[in-house]
Subunit: 118 residues, 2 copies
């Protein structure tokens, strides 16, 4: 069994409510049990609603743009080369604060699937 190499431009964005996302690795293409990797572009001026994943950890690595990571503990600024760790069960949202530019990030989740917090 070998490793799988993917370049970002080999994958296609799919629209989501807050912009667009492309799956790089996950159970559906490499059979991963622990990791799901996406690239997401948050559209200008948009925000996720606060949400949580009871059993899933998330790391966000900002590639481009400027935004905010929001939790019940408050807001923190994020920008290129910021890493964000969101513990499982934490209410969180990601906001793009720029009006004219998407914010682009690598989204890392483990485990890859989760139920959404109610």
């Amino acid at each position: 069994m070998g490793s799988t190499v993917v370049k970002e431009n080999e994958k296609t964005f799919q629209p989501v409510e807050w912009g667009k996302t492309k799956n790089i690795f996950g159970p559906e293409n490499v059979g991963s049990k622990h990791l799901k990797i996406n690239i997401t572009e948050y559209a200008a001026g948009t925000a996720h609603n606060l949400h949580r994943h009871p059993d899933q950890e998330e790391v966000i690595y900002i590639l481009d743009g400027e935004g905010i990571t929001r939790t019940d503990a408050g807001d923190q600024k994020i920008g290129p080369k910021s890493f964000v760790f969101v513990p499982a069960g934490t209410n969180h949202a990601t906001l793009n604060v720029l009006k004219d530019k998407p914010m682009k990030a690598i989204i890392i989740k483990s485990p890859p699937t989760t139920r959404k917090g109610e």
Copy 2:
């Protein structure tokens, strides 16, 4: 509980056999159970030996430089914006092929701890 934001330059590299590495997130600083995130610089012309982690998946995202991901299935070229998925239990090595420049990558592992394959 909130999220944790870290900029790469807030962490300090530690020397390893094949270059240097810094831990961004892991059990020891954010109490993660699923994710370990490092930034690693592979020194010019160096290589990991082939090794495997029986129960751990790994994703490598190349930030800068040029190299090879090696498994029993062969070698594949990697460079900036390449993502590499290494399945659990797969013999693998990462090589920096440049003679004069480090190769820099984000290393994502899940679960965060593992025993090394013999």
